[in-house]
Amino acid sequence: MAKLPLTGSRIRERRLDLGLRQAALAEACGISASYLNLIEHNRRRIGGKLLNNLAAALEVEPTSLSEGADIALLGALREAAEAAALNAADAARAEELAGRFPGWAELIAAQARRIASLERTVGTLSDRLAHDPHLSEALHDLLSTVTAIRSASSILAGEEEVDPEWQARFLRNINEDSHRLVTASEALVRYLDAETAADGARATPQEDLEAWLSAEGWHLADLERALPPSAASLVQRAEALRSDAARRLAADYATRYRKDAEALPLGALRDAIARHGLDPAALSQAFGVDLATVFRRIATLPDEAGAGPVGLAICDASGTLVFRKPIAGFALPQFGAACPLLPLYQALGRPMSPVRAIVEQAGRHSARFLTYAISQPGQPADFDGPVVFEATMLILPEPQPPQRQAQVIPIGPTCRVCPRDHCVARREPSILSASD
């Protein structure tokens, strides 16, 4: 459906505001009433002298009639329509809605942004729901409020006419519910803050390790030196490591970090990246080291190396994520299982075979990433003991422009909060139900 400029809608609104009859305005501008009617219903495009005449008769600037609604507002409305899977005919009327009812359009856009924000909150919290009845109760209230807002907004934004009394009522309800959402959200944040402060031991040793590394920028400069400190002394002074278990994990991590740094010294690695780019295979060949080592080194480059955002995920043979370096837009669950479609798990299923794949995250922004993964034995080979594999996945932003036509794998955060309805790998229903 072609998008029409909505100058006509604004002319009509302004004329009605002034209490002018269509015929009177048409006469003042030297056109027929039937032609004005076509203009007001956006069936004729106008500009130039006629627009100026109409603007003068309506006592407004021509630009106030001809300029469309705020682009950001239209974008927000279209995102809201897309998120709610509004039918195409209604979605195409976003500009008309913004033009005719700017206040309501702002309200709907604000509510859509709020709902998106709350859905992200739901995603973050859902992993903990099963273990926290207080949180479950709070989320019930929150989702009920979201439901009420969504229903009322859909009614207002729908194609069918709603009489003014009901419009006012739903507007009031949305307003009330938005205040409830604010209160509920603040209560949740307070609860979580208090819980974290009161029960620091609740964080797992792995979370402590990741918090420490995050604070260090994921780069341990001391371990890059020719004469590094021992892993034990390094972790001993790290305040973020609050338990013996966390310090032990961190010491193991530091030991491996040092070995990686010896295999791929920082200066040489920088030079090689300057020649090859962030190409793990080329770097692996250049240094004669395995891919997983290259992945880990790329993920721990200092910011000044200019590698840009890099994520890393490591899982053990059970598929449990044992290490996460986050990258914006790529969800890796803190609790519970990750998306089965992650290339990380493809690699786990075919040890020693490198995997490269473009993946697309579920959600409004659907960011794409270039991933490399490999599964290798997690410890030195031993003929007598079991071989336990460990898979490592490097996550980079998708190169721009895309370098090749590659198949894109649709992935998500974790099934519980993944909005993909028809995923072949779904383990359980999502709490983010399909939209209307």
Partner: protein, 126 residues
């Protein structure tokens, strides 16, 4: 097809929205908000179908549904259950308790109307 729906829900603004969209679809919507007296309301109002929230003041929706299924006159009454938790255990409990359908909040208006129509169709049956 449209007939009488009894909405047992305690969130006023959800009530208002559901009442509006179902009324617009031709349904007569009665509302009851107290869990403790909901079973009596079902008996007195004799709806064609019930929309029942799981979390209600004074009594759980599961218990109310159990009463509905135990009553001779209401045993086969279509019941659409609403839950905000979206957890598997809620769905399992709803199915075990005899819910005809269930929806997870936040649901869409279209889902509500489609579910009610579906249940009413089933109720009229062959």
């Amino acid at each position: 097809m449209p007939g009488r729906v009894l909405l047992i829900e305690d969130e006023p603004n959800i009530i208002e929205a559901i009442r509006f969209i179902l009324s617009r679809d031709g349904w007569t919507v009665d509302v009851h908000s107290d869990g403790a007296t909901a079973t009596d309301a079902v008996a007195q109002r004799a709806p064609d179908l019930v929309i029942l929230d799981v979390m209600l003041p004074n009594r759980s929706g599961f218990d109310i549904l159990a009463d509905i299924r135990a009553g001779d006159a209401t045993r086969d009454l279509p019941v659409l259950m609403l839950t905000a938790r979206g957890q598997s255990k809620d769905r399992d409990m709803a199915e075990r308790a005899g819910a005809s359908l269930f929806m997870t909040k936040p649901f869409s208006n279209a889902e509500v109307v489609a579910s009610v129509r579906q249940l009413a169709g089933r109720a009229e049956g062959p």
